[in-house]
Symmetry: C2
Subunit: 100 residues, 2 copies
Amino acid sequence: MTLGQKIKELRESKGMLQRQLAAKLEIGDGFLSKVEHDQKALKREHLNSISKIFDYPLEELESLWIATRIYELVKDEQSALNALKVAEEQIKYGKTHAKV
Amino acid sequence: MTLGQKIKELRESKGMLQRQLAAKLEIGDGFLSKVEHDQKALKREHLNSISKIFDYPLEELESLWIATRIYELVKDEQSALNALKVAEEQIKYGKTHAKV
DNA sequence: CTAAATTTGACCTTTTTAAGTCAAGTCTGA
DNA sequence: TCAGACTTGACTTAAAAAGGTCAAATTTAG
């Protein structure tokens, strides 16, 4: 599940049109279409609005939002999964040894 | 282990000075110092040189290089690890359903 | 101590990315 | 068929990131 898929799913579950959701987010509907196809990224602030409009947990939206960015970064890499593992270790290590 | 740490390790294992390695890479030694501390990123092409200079597998350097970028992206995120999991799924799914 | 090695901060230029818009084209279903 | 919904490609502009340099300050080893 990507963020775009999730947004589309939420939108359709309420029978809302792209135009309507786009208006609430104050963006064009062409842009929203691309967002739903993960061709463009929303601003992070938009996640708050989406969370409220659909009463869906913000944390989940944020995870999807970050994940999409990670995916964009590594999608053409042969060693994407391995790099993810390495990054995971770095994060875990960083967490325990954080410098203030 | 980060890329910077690995480069420093390789360099010192050969008793090489920053100045010497920097010259081989055709960068300034101030810049290399920052690279070793993961404050700046090398160009990807530099990995090839490093791999040859130290006879160290390129794939490992690349994984570390990508991982550092991922780390930069998520280091301030509370849900970094969770996002990584989500990204992993997206990659696995993407791999099997690649469009050409 | 002191000289060489390293680290750091400030700064710089060029390239990319972000975050859209808009209009034309395509799809869908009544 | 044909209107409304959606998708897509081309384009834009401001902001940020890439990829450094250089000199001053600091660290380290002999």
